[in-house]
Amino acid sequence: MIEDEWFEWYRLTPQERWSETEKLWAFYLSVGGSLNPEPDSESPFDTLQA
């Protein structure tokens, strides 16, 4: 019913998911990732000046 790849993520607690996301953030920022949201032409906020 639910794809296998999602089970592991769903089974984590909220705090565990937050911790995993923090690791991803740390890596992203360490390789120079931008904090500007990606352009999203479907968003009502897409035209805002960042």
């Binding site: 909220p14 998911r17 904090l35 949201p37 479907e42 009502p44 906020f45 035209t47 805002l48 960042a50």
Partner: protein, 231 residues
Amino acid sequence: MGGQACVLYGAAEFSRDTDIAVLASQKNLELLKGALQELQATRIAVPPFEIAYLQKGHAVHFRSYHPEAERIRIDVMSVMRGVEPFDRLWERRVRVDFSPGEGVDLLSLADLVRSKKTQRDKDWPMIRRLVEADYLSQKEHSAEKVRFWLLESRTPRMLMELARQAQGLARELSSVRPLLVAALKGDEHALEEGLAAEQQQVREIDRAYWEPLRQELEELRRAGYPPEEPV
């Protein structure tokens, strides 16, 4: 209320901003202004940070320049299409604690799901994940939960299974969610088509909702309203 809330509830989103739902009262906005000043925040777009714009449904956008939160985007909203007024959201909020005394208040799952029914492609898979995660996390399937899943699930096989287990309720709810008829019949193809049509219809409603708000922003820009301003 945004990507971070989705992560805590079980979806996965690499969100680069922080979305906050606030009560649009003068006193509360003063408190928020103080917090934004601590973050050395700048408003980075129209509309201005005024109660009237929040009450109309606009988002106000900021960027933090505090060294510990440098360049983090913060979007503030008070009114969201299809979502109940703030006082009801506050009553239903869910607290997630990270450590004693440190945590966040989230929109309830049902409110978060409603807030994600937008014109954007990316929000719809998020709803699917949120509801799947909720389904898997519940040891017991209360009538209230089954109702919620029947009304909000976007996973065809989950809907068919739920309809099989709760035929009476699924039949009853098919008056408000017609695709449940396909779920009751076990017709996965028709169910997928129904989900796509449902999504298309809601996205068009959302686009129409935002059109006057977009126009208002455009008018503010044309009028030369300063797009950026320290808080």
